[in-house]
Amino acid sequence: MSILSMTKTLFKNLFHGPYTTQYPIKKKDYYERTRGKIEIDIDACIFCSMCQRRCPTGAIQVDKANSSWSIERLSCIQCNYCSEVCPKKCLHMDQQYTSPSFGKVRDEYIKCTNTQSQGES
């Protein structure tokens, strides 16, 4: 029974600096596994649409005809499922999250290899 049970903790805190990180002066260190955002190595993509079919939120759109792969950044929930199913392992999770935005952004990546478009036509 006491009313001074916090005193020890309070004194400790008095001489300890802030526990919070002083963002943005000091940036947070990410861990190796931190899931920030999905990145694509578009040159390796074969536009098989596997990622689009498996994505639980439907954030990814693959357009084989135009060799384009796009992602709705705000829909993506960083579950990493797409990168697990990709047969070419061209998707990976980056540690830095996307920067804030005012509206919905769809990031589009287009593969520009002449050899492939020639081969298809």
Partner: protein, 359 residues
């Protein structure tokens, strides 16, 4: 008989004090009756099984709740694994147990902070959440997420924890244990805390049993009800005894939760010594056909998952009975006869999670 008035309480912010609405029938300052109403944050997650296949639904199941996210994912995966007769590797079972116990710790520490906040002890609230941060850091390091882990999968777990990291976790937990010992003294001994919790909202053992209370609510009233004793995941190989108390008041519920945090630390240490080497995931092929129901112990109590598969990749039905839903009748019982000023604390002592309840 004094004047009867009805005071509407809530709904408030989904994090806390939770979007539950109560019509409090008051006689002067005393609550005579409380009429609950829920349904403010229904998200239709159970209906989503018709749109998302059973593998994708793992991610939806995790999002039923932000605090027990790992356990929701685990409960769903266990149900589907049982339907499909999948036996997961031993190492995966231990990893699941470790993450589940870490979830329990961070949930209970968060709750302690919120309790302090509810009776206006702000510095105690901040201290609790400071300690909780260490556990969130462990989560981020081992799973990649701080709140939603996306690490439990049908057939095991997606990520392994290296032996060095396991040792590091034990080290951090020893530090957390030391800090918590200091902090929980305040919860258990401080006069002002005791004044708000001791003898408030007493739920007798019989009432707890009759009203179907679960989790710390039932344990604090002397009912030894802990689903972990069924031995799912690796719990069958660990030594522990459900923590109970006899008083049934808010103080007893606080005490049970505090003891559970230390029990979780002990369970994780046991896991680290017992964890075997090996695979963490088996490949799952085919679609679930049949039905099953699983019970697991969440920080808030027993949760029930039911799933019914029809042989296609979409489930027929998926149902969750969450602990808060089971605890609402018991809450209404404790509210009867209490002071209006005690209502927020009493609602808090069931550790409500209305987001899970409405899904």
């Amino acid at each position: 008989m004094g004047n009867r008035t009805i005071v509407p309480f809530g709904p408030q912010h989904p994090v806390l004090p939770e979007p539950i609405h109560l019509d409090l029938v008051l006689e002067d300052e005393k609550v005579v009756e409380a009429i609950p109403q829920i349904g403010y944050i229904h998200r239709g997650l159970e209906k989503l099984v018709e749109k998302k296949d059973f593998q994708q639904y793992t991610y939806v199941a995790e999002r039923i709740c932000g605090i027990c996210s790992f356990m929701h994912g685990m409960g769903y995966c266990m149900t589907i694994e049982s339907i499909m007769n999948v036996e997961i590797p031993e190492r995966a079972k231990f990893l699941r147990t470790i993450w589940a116990e870490l979830s329990r710790m961070h949930s209970h520490i968060m709750w302690l902070g919120l309790l302090a906040d509810a009776f206006g002890f702000e510095s105690l609230f901040m201290q609790s959440w400071k300690i909780r941060e260490r556990i969130l850091d462990i989560f981020e390091e081992t799973t990649g997420g701080r709140v939603i882990f996306s690490v439990c999968d049908i057939g095991g777990v997606r990520k392994d924890i290296s032996p060095e990291t396991l040792q590091k976790i034990v080290g951090i937990l020893q530090l957390v244990e030391k800090e918590l010992k200091e902090l929980t003294e305040v919860f258990l001994r401080d006069t002002s805390v005791k004044a708000r919790t001791k003898g408030v909202g007493v739920l007798s053992k019989q009432a707890a049993f009759d009203l179907g209370a679960v989790g710390p609510m039932a344990k604090a009233s002397g009912i030894e009800l802990d689903m972990r004793t069924q031995g799912y995941a690796a719990y069958g190989q660990l030594k522990f005894k459900p923590i109970t108390d006899t008083k049934g008041d808010s103080y007893a519920r606080t005490k049970v939760r505090i003891k559970e945090i230390f029990q979780s630390i002990d369970l994780i240490q046991q896991c680290v010594t017992l964890i075997p080497e090996g695979e963490v995931k088996v490949k799952v092929t085919g679609n679930p056909s049949g039905e099953y129901f699983t019970q697991i112990e969440q920080p808030r109590g027993e949760v029930v998952y039911y799933a019914k598969g029809n042989g296609t990749k979409f489930l027929d039905r998926m149902r969750v009975r969450t602990p808060t839903f089971a605890n609402v009748p018991a809450l209404l019982e404790t509210l009867k006869g209490c002071d209006l000023a005690d209502v927020p604390i009493l609602i808090l002592t069931i550790d409500p999670c209305i987001s899970c309840t409405e899904r």
